[in-house]
């Protein structure tokens, strides 16, 4: 099987394959054992493997149903246990047990898809299920927004304080590689430097408000008591109640506020010290630092109905990455937000805010992984002297803006997402790649959709484009189909061209990875056909009519015809889909139920910060139905996002 570039990372970290979170830091930990009957049926084997997996592996890789290590065969598991030091403790697992784990990770039997009344596939849904959701720490982005929003209540200039910005900048990133080729924000990531950095930022912010005399004097619901030279305990109570209500995203009652104020009161401190300490304390407390929804009525054991403030908070963080603004707070205070019509209007309003564009950026980056580059290394002559420094981010930003434009500005459908030619080229280097003028707002049909853009086409740099890399990106990110890792000994690149016997990349790829009877073809028959349509683009994302073949010295030695036709079974399984080129591929994906269901899974994962499980299926059916369109054309992606929020499940919390 032909390996992928990323395999070089993964081979080094096939630690990835099966390992228990953090156990290498606790080497005395023993793997959980269970015996297997030699007469186990395949079903039993899988069930027993699931138990073993749950005990030993799920800590890292999530539940078996949503494991990032699906389809791992026993050879890979053996290799990982034998070669990855932190997995060595699993060496006591028997071969039967390892095979059982592999069986649990194997693709499940195909069950008939569930269809809606129009014959479109939907998620198999058990009414009443609500997926358990962990308590989410604010991401760095959310933390900054939340802190800045509190500062704005005193003075809008405070958030620009250089020292505060410096402290924000030292907060370690919470964007990590969650799975192959995808960088994601992690709300579950709690680390010492994050706690420390956030506290330090809060401490500085607390100091800043002491400098905002006008803001203190006019702070709501304090009767201007903060303008006095000293602070009384009753004034402090008013201050705490208001600041706490805003910081905790809920209205604190008098007794609750006073109890909090009592804990924060310190008569030995000066006024400024007390204000600073109070502010820094509140923004470091769990009700500020975490999203938690535990104040509503119990619907059943461990399932709660969200209160109005909780619903407002959950909606605001999801759509804007920030706490509720004043308008939404007011709707929560009045309880109006619990009305579906009001909630729908608020969703539309929030989606029109600038902060929602940032959310779209993250949603689509995390969903489609276009901001991840394995490498970005080009010969200067090959790229015609274009300075590639910082070019990746230029490419990323083009797609950031593309998604925001289609989803928010144009209320476009999924089909439009896959076929629009809109752009906003604002960099001469990107314009050169696209062959358009800098400032162009529209591209040719060859560039329709987001898959035909530079950020997607440059996933393997160098002289030669990689249909495997491109196809894998489509298969895993657009169709949510995992094919697992290549074998450890799989080659990571095509063999070099032989002088005088030049073969196109496509033909060479087919020969090497799709030979009948090999194990390679099982995966590459799925992958490659989704990559071949992009052969009309070189590795730098430029259109080409023929493929230039380079020798080891970087000289062109041949020019070969390209072939972009392809047949894929993955887009509309079990039916084959024929496409002439990548424009047609994008259009087919834009109509693909599988691609739309994949997007909804991404959407739910982004909202919940954990992989979508089957317990979220009912919730996910609402947006998918909107995307399909209830009568004729597809509904908008924005309306699909709204549909998710309007589901009963969104308004509940299961812990």
């Amino acid at each position: 099987m032909l390996g992928r570039g990323i395999s070089r990372i993964l081979v080094g970290s096939v630690g990835a394959v099966l390992c228990l979170g953090y156990v290498n830091c606790a080497p005395s930990f023993e793997p959980s054992q269970m015996s297997l009957s030699s007469a186990s049926s395949a079903l039993d084997l899988r069930a027993q493997g699931k138990v073993l997996y749950d005990t030993n592996c799920s800590g890292c890789h999530g539940p078996v149903e949503a494991s990032t290590k699906r389809s791992r065969d026993v050879d890979l598991i053996n290799w990982a246990i034998g070669n990855v030091p932190q997995m060595s403790y699993l060496g006591s697992l028997t071969q039967n047990q390892r095979e059982a784990i592999s069986a649990a990770l194997a693709p499940q039997d195909i069950t008939p898809p569930v269809m809606n009344s129009r014959g479109q596939q939907i998620f198999a849904c058990t009414p009443g299920q609500v997926a358990k959701t962990p308590m989410l720490k604010l991401t760095n982005r959310e933390y900054r927004s939340a802190l800045n929003m509190l500062l704005d209540d005193f003075s809008v200039d405070l958030k620009n304080d250089a020292e505060l910005l410096q402290r924000f900048s030292t907060l370690p990133s919470d964007i990590v590689t969650e799975s192959r080729n995808t960088l994601k924000e992690q709300s579950l990531l709690v680390a010492g430097p994050i706690v420390s950095g956030a506290f330090e930022a809060g401490f500085r912010a607390g100091f800043l408000i002491t400098t905002a005399a006008t803001g203190l004097q006019n702070y709501p619901n304090t009767n201007s008591c903060l303008s006095a030279s000293a602070i009384t305990q009753s004034c402090h109570q008013l201050f705490v109640r208001e600041l706490g209500s805003r910081g905790f995203r809920k209205r604190l009652g008098q007794s609750e506020g006073d109890a909090l104020a009592l804990k924060l009161w310190d008569a030995t401190l000066t006024k400024n010290e007390l204000i600073q300490a109070t502010f820094a304390s509140i923004v470091s407390m769990p009700d500020f630092f975490y999203q938690i929804y535990d104040r509503g009525n119990a619907l059943s054991s461990q399932v709660l109905q969200l209160t109005a403030h909780e619903l407002a908070s959950k909606t605001a963080f999801f759509l804007t990455g920030a706490p509720p603004d004043a308008a939404l707070r007011a709707k929560a205070d009045s309880g109006d937000i619990l009305n579906a019509t009001v909630l729908s209007q608020e969703v539309d309003r929030l989606l029109a805010l600038p902060s929602a564009r940032q959310t779209m950026l993250r949603l689509f980056r995390e969903s489609y992984g276009y901001d991840y580059y394995d490498s970005f290394l080009y010969d200067a002559a090959f790229v015609s002297g274009i300075n590639t420094s910082g070019l990746q981010e230029v490419m990323n930003r083009e797609l950031d803006e593309y998604f925001a434009n289609v989803v928010i500005d144009r209320r476009g459908s999924f089909f439009e997402l896959m076929t629009s030619t809109s752009t906003n080229v604002s960099d001469s280097r990107l314009a050169s790649i696209y062959g358009v003028a800098n400032g162009a707002t529209n591209l040719s049909q060859e560039r329709a959709g987001f898959l035909n853009r530079a950020a997607f086409l440059t996933k393997r740099s160098g002289f030669r484009a990689s249909p495997i890399k491109r196809g894998l990106k489509v298969l895993e990110h657009v169709l949510c189909e995992e094919v697992g890792l290549p074998p450890v000994d799989a080659p990571t690149s095509l063999p070099p061209s032989v002088e005088g016997m030049y073969v196109s990349t496509r033909d060479q790829t087919q020969t090497v990875s799709e030979a009948a009877g090999t194990s390679c073809v099982q995966c590459h028959s799925k992958i490659n056909n989704l990559g071949y349509p992009f052969e009309r683009f070189d590795s730098f994302g430029r259109l080409r009519n023929a493929e230039a073949i380079y020798n080891g010295s970087g000289q062109v030695v041949a020019s070969l015809a390209i072939n972009t036709r392809s047949t894929s079974l993955q887009i509309r399984s079990p039916y084959a889909v024929n496409v002439q080129d990548s424009t047609e591929l994008g259009a087919e994906l834009g109509r693909s139920e599988k691609a739309m269901m994949c997007f909804v899974r991404h959407l739910k994962r982004f909202q919940a910060r954990v992989p979508a499980s089957s317990e979220s299926n009912c919730e996910m059916n609402a947006p998918i139905q909107v995307m399909y369109g209830t009568t004729g054309p597809q509904g908008s992606v924005a309306d699909a996002i709204k549909a998710l929020i309007l589901t009963p499940e969104f308004k509940r919390w299961s812990y």
């Binding site: 570039g5 970290s13 390992c19 979170g21 960088l183 709690v190």
Partner: protein, 491 residues
Amino acid sequence: MSMVYCKKTRRQFLVGTGKTLLALPFLPSLLPSTAQAQAASAQQKMMLFWFDHNNSLTLWPLLNRSAATTSVGSIGAKEVLLRSLGTAPAIGLPFRHPLYQTLMNADLVSVMRGFDTAQWDGTHGNYTVAAGAGRNSEGGHPSIDTIIEASSNVYPLMTTSSNVRKAIRVDMLGVPLFYQRVGTGVQQVTAFQRYEAPSAYNQVFSGLTAGTTAPADNTNQLKTNILNRVYESYVSFKDSRKISADDRARLDQHMSFISQIQAGYSQATPVNSCQRPMTPAASSDPAVWCRLYLQLLAIAFQCGLTKCGTMFFDTDDPQWMPGVPALGTGFHNACHGGAGPDIQRRAYDIYWPYYTDNIAEYFLKPLNTEEGSTGRTYLQNMVTGFVTSAGTYLPGNGDGGHSGLDSQQILIGNMGGRVRSGRYTALPDTGYNTRLPYNCFLLTLLQLMGVQPSEYQNTSSTGQGIGNYTGFSANHPLQSRFYSPVAEILT
């Protein structure tokens, strides 16, 4: 040795690991209600002298693999005590200053051979001020000094005085350096150029009163008070709210971090005796700047004004070196063999000793004194690296300046006993580009400094690069050692 290796991503650590989290110890001992003074311990410090266009293996160091005879570790490495190899300069002509022999006899010098850079064979890649996968224009990963600079573990926000400069870089290259810092985009690593010594003096020492140590942070008590209240709020939250067991474990972890940063306030550091240096006089002589920078760096370490220094040597035709004949070409060109093997050899034989003599006299010597009341010298409590891009190519044989294959690195000091210093360690010679990745050496230094894997292991340019091993073969024979420190040189 308290080195911690954990290649799990932070996500792997946290997501869905309730069971694991529950098993994490919650340490009541880390919960002081008031600050407790602790025994003085030296800060970890690191100084790296980077010889970008350096000697080949036949010149520096002189040691052959066969000199190491005693097996060490599990992958076939061998070692020998350096002091058993004879008198100076056993490790090469540039180390002719008698102080090197003194340090060698005290088992404070270590030489390690057998590191390969992967991706940038033939360029500068993977070196000290470069990074795990090359410098920005070649790989897009930040340098390790910027990782240290950005590390909250090395420089905790709440206990780092504002007058501490997190990294002091001196650039004797003659041209500005462009390397990736931690973060996105190509940035220039801020380094003092060789003519900026007065500016360096002002920036580094402006907050220091003559004859005193850095001013204390007088806000610690207020912060401790705040954290006490915050901590109590977590206790109350955990005990009274409707949350799952996994979430409780997550809160336990959060609380332990609060306790740790509280404890950070109470950690005492040695009271170092340091004197604010005299304001340097203006000069146009690079030899004066070179000496002055070395002196200033030594004092900055003594005064606790930084934990990380880097100084890069390379220059144009160094006619300014006293008593040294001109090369007739740029030093860079000479090192690359561009002016022929004789000039290349002269660069190695004459110019490097000039620098190493200066380092010994003006940097190592003042730090070879006891640090506070630790019972150890500054040099013992830190590591000073002579890091090189030398490789197996021979002088005159093309681009021998920095082939990066089978390279040798030199360390002085042992970071308070954490390094098994005093040895020549020959790591296994497994062949072209299959030796131990240089990344492993870099992350060894980072871990010695207290940088956690989560702060350097990401593979993207927005991460810290040292987790990038993509340039190595999928069948690398030492693959099990990727991501790991060089255990053979650690206690």
